[in-house]
């Protein structure tokens, strides 16, 4: 057990180092940050001084080593654009992204699972067909377009919901929340629906497919033969058995919800980490970009790590072939 975890842990470290390296290397090619930092009248000499002071003239590996060592200590340096510590910026932005992602994920589950069950059970119903074709739209329309359409309908035409920002937030000292004010809650609706839509359709289609699969299996037939109530078969036998992969996927998707939030945050000017990242890209703010990618990389690695360990706990077969581990 311990060697399994240690092995997984070592793998995670390697992945993180690679993510850091790729992120950092990529940024060598996004343009000269100096130009975005100074005004048009700033002379070449001043630009060169600044370049020297920021260490941009050092060799690549020196810059990376400096970055990696600092990152381990949670220190991502100073944002070129905001002129503040990056770690402080990330902590400031994280609540907005996490609240949005949480609501998005809950929404996707709460609507997606029942809709999947319904469409699986009433395969030929009119409503099922409507939901299924609607879900095709959800998968195929890009997120930013959904966001813009929602803004147009609910913000511009009906004027019932705010079109940008988080509304009023309550500062708890270590966390800012939009859950406690009316305008904060109203502001959450459009972005979280936008963010949830893709995941929702994914979960719904997954639940439906799994349900159909399980409903065909022998033990369902036997259950029917034993005269168990249909309702009971559907919900305690079929649904339970189809939920295992759903839970796995949902866990993994949580990471991508946080990452996907970039687009939603941009469309709704939602002041989270994604917006910070997009702005950093435009301003060639290397420390922020690098830190963001490392943080998102960490979220993914961490979730994967937990899922791996959960498998180990849940699935006894893994324990047997730990000698040949490495998948």
């Amino acid at each position: 057990m311990i060697s399994f975890i240690a092995g997984r842990f070592a793998q995670s470290i390697v992945v993180m180092l690679t993510v850091g390296l790729i992120a950092f290397a990529m940024f060598r090619f996004v343009g000269d940050p100096i130009n975005n930092m100074v005004g048009q009248d700033t002379t070449a000499e001043q630009r060169e001084q600044l370049r020297e002071r920021l260490g941009l003239n050092d060799p690549f590996y020196v810059q990376y080593a400096r970055f990696a060592l600092n990152a381990v200590q949670g220190e991502f340096g100073q944002s070129y654009f905001h002129r503040r510590p990056v770690s402080e910026l990330l902590v400031e932005r994280m609540p907005a992204t996490l609240e949005l992602s949480l609501i998005g994920a809950v929404l996707a589950l709460v609507v997606g699972v029942p809709a999947g069950v319904y469409t699986a059970l009433n395969r030929n119903g009119i409503l099922s067909n409507l939901i299924m074709s609607g879900s095709l739209l959800g998968v195929s329309i890009p997120t930013f377009l959904i966001g813009i359409i929602l803004i147009l309908v609910f913000g511009v035409v009906w004027r019932v919901l705010p079109t940008f920002g988080r509304g009023d937030v309550v500062d708890l000292g270590w966390w800012t929340t939009g859950f406690l004010t009316a305008s904060g809650l109203k502001s959450l609706i459009l972005p979280s629906v936008t963010l949830a839509l893709f995941q929702l359709t994914l979960i719904m289609r997954l639940v439906r497919a799994e349900m159909l699969e399980v409903l065909r299996t022998d033990f369902i037939k036997f259950a029917k033969a034993r005269g168990i109530l249909t309702r009971s078969i559907h919900f305690s036998h079929a649904l339970k058995n189809s939920l295992v992969p759903v839970i796995t996927i949902t866990g993994l998707q949580l990471g991508s919800i946080i990452a996907f939030a970039i687009i939603t945050e941009t469309v709704f000017q939602w002041p989270g980490m994604g917006l910070l990242f997009i702005q950093a890209v435009l301003e060639v703010d290397i420390p922020v970009m690098a830190a963001y990618l490392v943080v998102i990389g960490f979220v993914f690695v961490f979730i994967n790590f937990i899922v791996d360990i959960l498998y180990f706990v849940v699935d006894p077969r893994l324990r047997a072939d730990r000698a040949g581990s490495g998948h």
């Binding site: 343009g31 600044l50 803004i151």
Partner: protein, 530 residues
Amino acid sequence: MLNRKKLLAAVAVAAIAFATPAMAKTFKWAFQGSLSTLDPHGLNETFLLGTLGNVYEGLVDYDADLQLIPALAESWEIVEPTKWVFKLRKGVKFHDGQDFTADDVIFSWKRSGTEGSDQKVRYALIADIKKIDDHTIEVTTPAPNPLMAQDLVFLKIMDKEWSEEHGSVEATNVKGGDEGNYANMHTNGTGPFMITENTQDVRTVFKRYDGYWKDIKSNVTEAIMTPIAQDATRVAALLSGELDLVFPVPVQDWKRLEEAEGVEPLTGPEARTIFLGMDQFRDELLYSDIKGKNPFKDKRVRAAFAHAIDLETIKKRVMRGASTPTGLMVAPQINGFNEALNEPYKYDPEMSKKLLAEAGYADGFTVTMDCPNDRYVNDERICQAVASMLAKVGVKVEVFAQTKSKYFGKVLQQNGYDTSFYLLGWTPGSIDSHNVLSNIMSCQNVDAKVGLFNLGNYCNAKVDELTKQVEKETDQAKRQAYIDEAFKIHKDEYGHLPLHQQPLSWGIREGVDLAQRGDNVLDFRNVVLP
């Protein structure tokens, strides 16, 4: 004592009785980005300094028409060519209640020269400031410079005591300490508004300062700026009635704003001139199929380019009628502009073909054009239009458009002017022609810090000499004559090819009254809400 109190009370009652009912008026507006620092010496950028101009003030200021007006200085005179005496305004108080004095001016000037400052160019305009009394200073310049006052608009004055108390005697450094400079996050100016909240990418809240020294027409008691990066979201926020003003608005959306109820586009010519430049110094172009020589060294080729570009078509097709075609490198708002010289190069493709043939390029040639795609209004589309017009006279232009940071990283001095043909825009920060002459039309000279943005190194000794004279000359008529002569030479030699002034493009709620300044700055002093 008691009497005084009573008197005060009586005055207070009277004030309340006579004042119009103090209604809270909140002005909500959105721009595409946020304030990257609150330190007025931290970044030399027009939008930032212009917006901070509501909070901090310089010795002088611009009015709604970009005319120079006294601000913290009541008056000034040039006593010797290099010596100025400024009379400072009395009775001005900073937001924290401290008096404004000569010490604050000297302190702020010194602060603008500290290591982290991005205002060193303005710091260098002054050699020394001597305090004569609390409200009189004597300023010495390193060389005669009749325009010095013009450049002081964006050199903002901070309070010495406040800065010292909070350990902010040096300008915010880009790298800075971990806690950040106090002035990076807090403000204490003399302007009509105070910043009470500033959260990056979320909002900046400006509260009216009751002790402001000047009567202004604005009835705004609170202004909230929200940065909205996405064009579509910004326009939608205006349409939804949540905001009073947004800018910039994409030119394509003007019609939509006109048709929508309760909002309208607000447009005008910006003081920025968009122009094309050509590499005129290399013996062989970096990006062309002509080897062994540089076609742009031949004036006839440059002329052929000028006469092949139809500015009216660019205006109509690309800019939706919203640009002002121009023949000069400076806009009408800029000091030194002369309408008589502003006639654009004539559109005459036949002449272009003839000129190219004469120069030995009857079959044309190929050249790559560098172009930003997110810096100026419709920049990439202008480049494409230019390319298709030049194609008609046989020159094949390959447009290489990229994001502004990549573009500037390629073509500017730090990268050795890596371009053969490019599009650039320029607003002279001092609103004076000398800035353009010195930065764009003078021969490149890194040591003298001139011609640094003359990417193609158009170089004429006479223009250089005239530029130096323009800098020194105090007589306005003579000075204008020098400017005219330099511009005329540059124009006759097709040094650069000016295209147009791009439009300012704002969207406002109907009933909101404000001034749209040519440098794209929003001054709350002029905002009146219904």
